[in-house]
Each structure stands twice: as structure tokens, then as C-alpha cells.
């Protein structure tokens, strides 16, 4: 098992290295640079200013050399300063990361807490009234654009009813973060429920068709025991894969939801850093999301072994 773990960590390190180069290259290949955009919005900037700023931020240097210098510093633990915010990258990321973890983590937990039981129930009686109702809910969640859903929730709960704040993390003075979280969490969770419910339902239907389920029933085990003790454990394997793939979003945020609810999270930070050619910040944020996704997939591998007794590490 340790050998397997070491192998996966090694693979992940290579992926991260390649990712850092690809991200650096893609940002560098984007048309223009932030100084061009600065000139178009500030008539007072002179050509001399533009040249000086390009030189100052290293935008006039070859891309490969800049990436190599960044890599050397990053390996020694120095992720540099953000060009946009003129602060250390890790310091810039701290608050948005907490906001995103809180938002995405709560939404994912809520989504799984609702979707998994509903998916199991729907999967055990496919075609029944409950399955049809659950499917309706799932498709509604999947089909509704997050942007539209968020605005509708704001209109209903903030504008019409006045029950909840329309945006932001907390009111000035603080202490009411939970109230501010309700609408964005609900928006993300409703979208996630549909997806998770469909995965769980499909996995459960597939599992219940297996011969060993029929054998368990033939042995006289109760339907409830077969579903909860045997089928559910097996059906969770593909769901674990999906959740592992979603883990990166816990750290990379949800741009649209964050924008609609003015929630300063990682999604907006990553977007701004990429659009603003803030290489240090963009790399740190994107690599963090990649690293978490890779780690979650390694964790999922171990979860398979725990969920499915047929899987062992050699």
C-alpha cells in the first residue's frame, strides 16, 4: 500500500510540474498584457510609463526564463508577491480560501446529505412515483442555470420577503456570516443535488442487478439489510470518484455564484489573476486546486478499497 501511495504521490508531483508550465504558458500566450489594458483605461499613462511597468513586472522577459525562476523560488517555499495586490501570494489567498471552503464545503455537504438518501431510495424502486419525483427534482437542479437560480433566490428572499441579505460575506461589524451563507449555499446545493442524486440512483440500480445481490436475497437477508449493508457500500464507489473529482472545486470556488452573491472567494480571485496576468497568484491558486484534486483522487483510491472488499493493494 505504501508503495502504491508513493507511486501516486510521484505521479501527482509530475502532473503539478507539467500543470505549472502549462498554466504559465497559457497565461503568457494570452493576447496583450495588463499594461495594454491599463493604457486603454487611463489616458494619462505615457508610452514611457508603459515600458517602465512592463520592465518592472518582468513582462518583457522570455516566458521560459520567468517560469524557471518562479519554479526555483516556489520549490524553496517562496510563491512570490501578487502583482495585482502587491502582497505575498499566500496572504492574498488566505481570506478567499476560507470563504470558499466555507461556502463550497457547506454546499457539498448539504448536497450529499440530501442527494445520497434520495438517490438510494429512487434506485431501489426505479420507475416508481418516488423515483419519478426524485428525477424531476434532479433534472430541475441540473437544468437551472446557477446564475438565474441565484438571482431568483435573491429576488424572493432578499427583495420580496426581506428575510436574508442579498450579498456579501457579512454585515459590517460581522457576526452574521451564517445568514449571508444561506442563499449562495442553497444555490450551489440545489445545483449539486441533481447531479449527485442521478449518480447515486444509477449506481444503486446497477448494483441491485448484480448476481450477488440476488444470492444475498436468496439466503434470506432482508431487503433493507441487502440495500444498506451490501448494495449501498458497493454503489458508493462511483459516487466517491465523482466527489473526489469535485474536491478541487472546494479550493477553486464557483465563479458565477461568487459573482452573483458578491462572495469574495477563490473563483473570482483565480479569474482576476488570470485576466490580470498575475502569474504568481494564478499559479498558486490553480496549482492548489490541482493538488487538492490529485490528493482527493488518491484518497478515493483508498476509499475504493474500504468500500469494496474485492480491491486490495499489492
Amino acid at each position: 500500500m505504501l508503495r502504491h501511495l508513493a507511486g501516486r504521490i510521484g505521479q501527482s508531483a509530475v502532473v503539478l510540474l507539467i500543470m505549472s508550465f502549462v498554466v504559465y504558458g497559457l497565461i503568457g500566450l494570452m493576447p496583450g498584457d495588463p499594461i495594454d489594458l491599463m493604457i486603454s483605461s487611463n489616458p494619462k499613462l505615457t508610452p514611457a510609463d508603459a515600458e517602465r511597468l512592463r520592465h518592472l513586472y518582468g513582462l518583457d522577459q522570455p516566458l521560459l526564463g520567468r517560469w524557471w525562476a518562479w519554479l526555483g523560488a516556489a520549490l524553496s517555499g517562496d510563491f512570490g508577491h501578487s502583482r495585482l495586490y502587491a502582497r505575498p501570494v499566500l496572504e492574498v489567498m488566505a481570506a478567499p480560501l476560507v470563504n470558499t471552503l466555507l461556502l463550497m464545503g457547506t454546499a457539498l455537504t448539504l448536497s450529499l446529505a440530501i442527494a445520497l438518501p434520495l438517490g438510494v431510495l429512487a434506485g431501489t424502486r426505479p420507475g416508481g412515483w418516488f423515483d419519478r419525483a426524485a428525477n424531476l427534482l434532479a433534472f430541475a437542479g441540473i437544468s437551472m442555470p446557477v446564475f438565474w437560480l441565484g438571482l431568483m433566490l435573491i429576488v424572493l428572499f432578499a427583495v420580496r420577503l426581506g428575510w436574508l441579505p442579498a450579498s456579501g460575506v457579512e454585515t459590517v461589524g460581522g457576526g452574521d456570516r451564517a445568514r449571508h451563507m444561506v442563499l449562495p449555499v442553497l444555490t450551489l446545493a440545489l445545483a449539486g443535488i441533481g447531479q449527485h442524486l442521478r449518480y447515486m440512483r444509477a449506481a444503486m440500480i446497477e448494483t441491485l442487478r448484480q448476481d450477488w445481490i440476488r444470492t444475498a436475497r436468496a439466503k434470506g437477508l432482508s431487503w433493507r439489510r441487502v440495500v444498506l449493508r451490501h448494495a449501498l457500500r458497493h454503489a458508493l464507489t462511483p459516487v466517491a470518484t465523482v466527489v473526489a473529482l469535485e474536491a478541487g472545486a472546494l479550493f477553486s470556488g464557483a465563479l458565477i455564484t461568487e459573482t452573483v452573491f458578491a462572495w469574495p472567494g477563490m473563483g473570482k480571485l483565480i479569474y482576476d489573476s488570470v485576466m490580470g496576468n498575475d502569474f504568481n497568484l494564478a499559479l498558486a491558486t490553480l496549482l492548489l486546486a490541482t493538488a487538492v484534486t490529485l490528493a482527493a483522487n488518491v484518497a478515493a483510491d483508498f476509499a475504493y478499497a474500504a468500500l469494496d472488499p474485492r480491491i486490495t493493494w499489492r
Partner: protein, 543 residues
């Protein structure tokens, strides 16, 4: 149902539901951007100017009537009052700082702060966006604690406007500047932006929640009129629909015109909620126009450019699309500018447009030249900008009636402003805005030395490639002409050439839409780059 409602109320009570804050001693402003830094000289963002307008003051500014006024200084130096003296090709300017100007920690604002700011501004490694004024100042003489003389290397008509000289608190910043290359990360404006000693305006920054909001509270050392609000909160909400919802729900009190709704959004909002809010529209210095590649054989012909403008019914377009709130532009200078002159206009006249195209050798429908080539032009604008895309559709349809084939090929702003325009890759026309300031000399957009090319590092904004020696001469002359009457005559000539030659097609002046609560009085939109917050102490809740 009653059970469900009770359950909902119970749940909301559990998570701490309380009513919205609505006291009139607090003002919550919504803007669409969050400033990346609060350092007055590093970076340039409207969101930053908006916030800093409340917490500090420039030495000089243009007021709401576009007059140059002193804010941190006492009197504008002029050649007439003897505070400005010609020195060879340059000028010496003596300013006195407001006698009661004091940083929020009680330290007086002095000439020492001005000299320090100049040193920071001149240093190439500090990351300042606009360094021009700092490099043009060759020396500063400290006359006394509150008086100083600037020696500027060049005498221009706007010699006494020093908007860009941002005074800095030497007593707090000197240590951070000890290592200039690290100044932009070590400055107190980054490490501790709520330090009272950074601010000397009517309000001071009391809380910064990055990406979310900035709280300002009255500054006890402010020397002017007492500000009316106990607290002003500036909230960043990028999505304008969410911004409207926040306004309607009471989460914010107003939407700033500088960074808020577009005119069409404001018009729609006003129709729905006009009774609850005061919506004011102020035409601003955003000159929406059509830039053209003047190397394109068709567009190189002045008659074609004139015909294109004659073929447009801009009055109807602005009336239909913007209810006339964004006035038609007839030239490059805003009618609000003191140097604006009435020059040749090109009212909608399809018959004359057709005649001009015939004369230029483009005949038939669709129009073709003698070689049989069609008059087909590409029109580009910033993809995703709904207003411009709408205008583009109108232009396409009106020019089609003239027999001109317009192919729309929009690009993201990043590509258009970052690649296509600066690298001169525009094949036909581009619809976008030039931002200017009062009596802004169009050197960067019209002077032949400002055509971007590899040889000059792709600098300059004369992306169409316009060359006219007479225009170059007028621009050079205007910049150094001190006599207002003579300068007005030069401006008139320049505007006439522009209106006749049409190196770009004027469309309309974009307006700012300020959405204010009915109880808020004293907000005076400027229409130029000076934010309304520079007069925030006059804002009052009434009624």
C-alpha cells in the same frame, strides 16, 4: 402551510435573522469593482479614486463645473498672481498647503510630505502607474513647513494642474521606502490601510474587507465642513443585476454612477422603481466612436468616411436606445468642455451619403468599385458589451441601406485592447470609447508620432494610423499656448479638421447613471474622471 411558514421562520431565527440596517447616519454605496490597492499613486483604478476621494484630497482638481480648483492647496499659482514664474522652457510654481491639513494621527501635512511623495514618484522601481508629472518636476524647494515651490521642466497651458502629485505621509512611509524596489509591498497602505495617519480627508478608512467592502468613518482631523454620515460603506458587487437586487432589498442605499449601472439598465430600473430612487444621468468623457484602419483602401478615402457618417441616424439611435440620455457626439470634444467649438456636422442624409460613395467610385447595390470589389468592411467591438453590440446592429442595418456590407467580428476586450488595436491588426472599424479629461489634448490618439509600431514598442493610441502635419502642429501649439483666446482658436481649427477629415466617426457621449436614495442630497456628478466623492462632505441626508 402555516406550519411550513412557522418552520421557515424558526429556521431563520436560528441562523440569526435580523432586519436590514436602515439608519440615515450610515450610507452604503454599491460599486462594481474592488480596488486592488489603496495606495494613491500605485495602480490606477476608478474604484480606488472613488474611495480615496473621501479619505484624502489631491492638490488640484476639476470641480463639477469643470473649473480647475485648489483642494489641498490654498491658491492656484498663475503668472498673473506671481506664484508661477517662467524659468527658461519650464516654470516654477509655488503652492501653499491648507493651513489645517492634518493626517488622521494628528501629524500636520507638510512640504516634507510633498518632497517625499516626489521622491517616491520619481523612483522607477516603485511600480507607480503614471510617473510623468514626477519626472517633469526637476526640483522642489521647501519655502516653509506648508509652502513649497515646484520646478517643472516644461511650460504647458495646464501648468498649475498637479492632480497627479499625490502627497504621502513621510512619517509613516519613509521606512518602507528605504528599499524602493520593495516599497509597493511594504507600504503602510498595503500592510495597515486602516492606519489613521494615512488619511486626511473628511473620512478615513476604518475597515478593509478585501473583495467585499471598505468602511469609512469621519476623520476627526478634517479641516473642512463636517461630514454628515457616521459611517460610509463601499460594497463591491460586480454583477449589476445583483447590484439592483441589493438596492431594492436595502442592502445598499445607492449605486455610484462612476462604477454602476449602464444607461440602459438604469433606464429600465427607473421605469420599475423610479418613485423610490432619484436616477440622474450625466454625460461623461467617454467618447464612443468608431476607430478606423486608415490603411484600408476604402476607409483611406475621406469621402467614404464622410458618407458612412452621413448614413447614420445617430439622433434616432440615441433616442431609441438611450432615451436621449447619451447625447450624440459631433466631434472629439465634449460640449461640456470649455474649448468645445461648433464645427461641421454630419446630420443623417442618406442621399448625400450615396452621392459621396458614387463620387468615390463605389456604385450599385451592394456597392462595388471599378474592379468589381464589394464595399465590405469588418466592424469589431468588445464582445459581451450589450450596449455596443446593440449599437453595432443599428450601424450594420443603416449602412446596409447605403449598400455597404458590414461584417461583425467581435472580440473580448482583452484581445481588442491588448492585441488588435495596439498591434494595428484592425482590418476595418472598431467601436469603443476613448476616455479623456477636461481640455485633454489628443496627442496620444491623433499625433502622427503616436502611431503604434514595432520601432516604438507599439506605444501610442493612434491605432488608425492618422497622419496630418497640420494636426500635429496644432497639437504641439495647443499644449504650450498659455493665452486662452489664442488656444481656443487653435482648438477650433483642430476640431474643424477633425470634423472634416473624420479620422474616427463620432457616435455619442456615454453617460453615467447615478442611482440615489430620495433622502440623499448634495451629490454632484462631475462627468469627468474626478469622482463625486471629492465633495463627499456636502452629501447630506434630508427628509
Amino acid at each position: 402551510m402555516p406550519t411550513l411558514r412557522a418552520l421557515a421562520f424558526a429556521l431563520l431565527a436560528l441562523i440569526g435573522l435580523t432586519g436590514p440596517v436602515g439608519a440615515k447616519d450610515e450610507l452604503v454605496i454599491g460599486i462594481t469593482q474592488f480596488p486592488s490597492t489603496l495606495h494613491p499613486s500605485i495602480d490606477s483604478m476608478m474604484a480606488k479614486s472613488y474611495v480615496l476621494g473621501m479619505a484624502r484630497r489631491p492638490f488640484t482638481a476639476h470641480d463639477a463645473q469643470w473649473r480647475l480648483v485648489c483642494m489641498l492647496c490654498v491658491e492656484l499659482p498663475t503668472l498673473e498672481n506671481g506664484l508661477a514664474k517662467i524659468e527658461g522652457k519650464g516654470v516654477a510654481l509655488t503652492y501653499a498647503i491648507q493651513p489645517k491639513a492634518t493626517w488622521g494621527d494628528g501629524t500636520p501635512v507638510t512640504s516634507k510630505d510633498v518632497v517625499f511623495a516626489w521622491k517616491v514618484g520619481r523612483e522607477p522601481t516603485t511600480g507607480l502607474a503614471n510617473q510623468e508629472l514626477y519626472t517633469r518636476i526637476t526640483a522642489i524647494d521647501v519655502v516653509d513647513e506648508r509652502t513649497f515651490t515646484l520646478h517643472v521642466d516644461r511650460l504647458t497651458f495646464d501648468y498649475n494642474a498637479i492632480h497627479d502629485l499625490d502627497v504621502l505621509p513621510a512619517h509613516l512611509e519613509a521606512e518602507a521606502f528605504a528599499r524602493p524596489a520593495e516599497y509597493n509591498t511594504r507600504t503602510t497602505y498595503q500592510t495597515n490601510p486602516t492606519h489613521p495617519g494615512l488619511w486626511f480627508g473628511p473620512y478615513r478608512v476604518a475597515e478593509v474587507s478585501r473583495g467585499s467592502h471598505i468602511v469609512l468613518e469621519p476623520n476627526p482631523t478634517w479641516w473642512g465642513a463636517k461630514p454628515a454620515f457616521r459611517r460610509i460603506v463601499v460594497k463591491a458587487i460586480e454583477n449589476t443585476q445583483a447590484m439592483e437586487a441589493n438596492l431594492l432589498s436595502g442592502s445598499i442605499d445607492m449605486i455610484a454612477g462612476e462604477l454602476g449601472l449602464s444607461v440602459e439598465q438604469a433606464l429600465a430600473f427607473e421605469k420599475r422603481n423610479g418613485a423610490r430612487f432619484a436616477v440622474t444621468y450625466k454625460p461623461a468623457l467617454f467618447y464612443e466612436h468608431i476607430d478606423m484602419n486608415l490603411s484600408n483602401p476604402a476607409l483611406a478615402d475621406r469621402r467614404v468616411r464622410q458618407a458612412l457618417l452621413l448614413g447614420l441616424d445617430r439622433e434616432t439611435m440615441t433616442r431609441q436606445l438611450f432615451e436621449g440620455r447619451q447625447p450624440v457626439a459631433h466631434g472629439m470634444l465634449s460640449p461640456l468642455d470649455s474649448m468645445h467649438a461648433e464645427v461641421t456636422r454630419w446630420p443623417h442624409d442618406p442621399a448625400r451619403a450615396a452621392a459621396l460613395l458614387d463620387e468615390a467610385g463605389w456604385k450599385g447595390a451592394p456597392r462595388r468599385n471599378a474592379k468589381g470589389e464589394p464595399l465590405a468592411l469588418e466592424l469589431t467591438t468588445t464582445a459581451g458589451n450589450r450596449t455596443r453590440e446593440l449599437v453595432e446592429q443599428v450601424l450594420q442595418s443603416q449602412w446596409r441601406k447605403l449598400g455597404v456590407d458590414i461584417r461583425i467580428r467581435n472580440e473580448p476586450a482583452r484581445v481588442l485592447f491588448g492585441e488588435t488595436l495596439p498591434r494595428r491588426r484592425l482590418s476595418g472599424m472598431a467601436l469603443y470609447a476613448w476616455i479623456s479629461s477636461p481640455e485633454n489634448v489628443p496627442r496620444s490618439t491623433l499625433h502622427s508620432s503616436m502611431i503604434p509600431a514595432e520601432s516604438n514598442g507599439w506605444s501610442g493610441q493612434n491605432t488608425g494610423g492618422y497622419v496630418n502635419p497640420e494636426v500635429d502642429r496644432l497639437i504641439d501649439a495647443i499644449e504650450i499656448e498659455l493665452d486662452e483666446t489664442k488656444r481656443r482658436a487653435l482648438w477650433r481649427d483642430l476640431q474643424e479638421i477633425y470634423a472634416t477629415e473624420l479620422p474616427a466617426l463620432p457616435l455619442f457621449w456615454r453617460a453615467e447613471a447615478h442611482v440615489l436614495p430620495l433622502w440623499l442630497k448634495g451629490v454632484a456628478p462631475t462627468g469627468h474622471l474626478g469622482p463625486t466623492t471629492l465633495w463627499v462632505e456636502t452629501w447630506r441626508p434630508e427628509g
